[in-house]
C-alpha cells in the first residue's frame, strides 16, 4: 500500500507542465493539420476554376488561341512530365525511409526538390515568353490566376521539401519516425494532382 502510494507520488513529481491536450481525433495532429489545409486549398482552387468555367461554359467565350496569343502546350507538357516524375521520386523517398534505406531517402528527396525547382523555373520562363499579360483579356487573367496559384503551391511545397532535404542529410527520420517525410509527401502529391487538372483544362482542352 505504501509502495503504491509512493510510486504515485513519484509519478506526480515527474510530470511537469500542463496536462496533455485532449485528442478527439484518431488522426495524428500533423496529418490532421495537412488534411484540413488541403481541403481548404481545394476550395481555393475551386473558386479559380469557377471563373474558368464561367468564361468557357457559361459565357461560351473562345479560349486560347485567342487574339493571336497561343499557350505553349508542348513545353507545359514536358513540365507536367517533370512534375509527375517528382511525385515518383517523392514516393521512392518515402518507401525508402520506411525500410531504413537512408540513401534512397536522400536521393529521392533531393531529386524531388530539384525536379520541383525545374518545374517552377520553366513556369517562370513561360510567363516571360508567353507574350500577354493578366490584364490583356479575361482569358489571360484566368491563365495567370490558375497557373500562378498552382506555382505558389509549388513554391510552398519546395520550402517544405528543402526542410525535409536538410533534415534527411542530417540523419533525421527512421523507419519508425518518418511523419516529417510523409506529410510533405501528401502535400506534394496534392499539388501534382491539381496540376494535372490545371494542365488538362487550361492547356489541352
Amino acid at each position: 500500500m505504501e509502495a503504491a502510494s509512493a510510486s504515485v507520488t513519484t509519478a506526480d513529481h515527474e510530470h511537469h507542465g500542463p496536462p496533455p491536450a485532449n485528442r478527439s481525433s484518431r488522426v495524428e495532429a500533423q496529418t490532421l493539420g495537412m488534411l484540413l489545409f488541403i481541403i481548404s486549398e481545394i476550395m481555393v482552387f475551386g473558386a479559380f476554376f469557377t471563373a474558368y468555367f464561367f468564361i468557357r461554359v457559361v459565357k461560351g467565350d473562345h479560349w486560347f488561341p485567342f487574339h493571336g496569343d497561343v499557350l505553349p502546350v508542348a513545353v507545359a507538357g514536358v513540365n507536367t512530365a517533370i512534375l509527375l516524375s517528382s511525385s515518383l521520386t517523392m514516393h521512392w523517398a518515402q518507401t525508402s525511409i520506411k525500410h531504413d534505406n537512408r540513401f534512397g531517402l536522400k536521393a529521392g528527396i533531393l531529386s524531388t526538390f530539384l525536379l520541383g525547382l525545374t518545374f517552377l523555373f520553366v513556369q517562370v520562363n513561360e510567363y516571360v515568353h508567353v507574350g500577354f499579360s493578366p490584364r490583356d483579356h479575361a482569358q489571360g487573367t484566368i491563365f495567370y490566376g490558375l497557373t500562378g496559384l498552382h506555382g505558389a503551391h509549388v513554391f510552398i511545397g519546395l520550402t517544405l521539401l528543402a526542410m525535409v532535404t536538410v533534415r534527411s542529410f542530417r540523419g533525421h527520420y527512421s523507419s519508425k519516425e518518418h511523419r516529417g517525410v510523409e506529410v510533405p509527401g501528401i502535400y506534394w502529391h496534392f499539388v501534382d494532382a491539381m496540376w494535372i487538372i490545371v494542365y488538362s483544362s487550361v492547356y489541352v482542352l
Binding site: 496529418t31 494532382a193 494535372i196 488538362s200
Partner: protein, 55 residues
C-alpha cells in the same frame, strides 16, 4: 453517445479486402490517388478530343 468503432474488419462479407483509399492521410494512398487522377484526366481529355474531331 454511440461508441466509436476502433478497428474495422478490412475483409468484406464476400471475403475480398475492402480497403478505402485515404489520400489525405497517407503518402502511398496520395500517390495512388495521383495515378488515378492522371488516368481519369487522360480518359476525359481523350474523349473530348475524339468528340471534337467527330462533331
Amino acid at each position: 453517445m454511440t461508441p466509436r468503432r476502433r478497428g474495422s474488419d478490412p475483409l468484406g462479407p464476400d471475403g475480398w479486402v475492402t480497403r478505402v483509399l485515404k489520400p489525405l492521410r497517407s503518402e502511398p494512398d496520395a500517390f495512388r490517388f495521383l495515378i488515378y487522377v492522371v488516368v481519369v484526366a487522360a480518359v476525359v481529355v481523350g474523349l473530348v478530343l475524339v468528340v471534337r474531331a467527330v462533331v
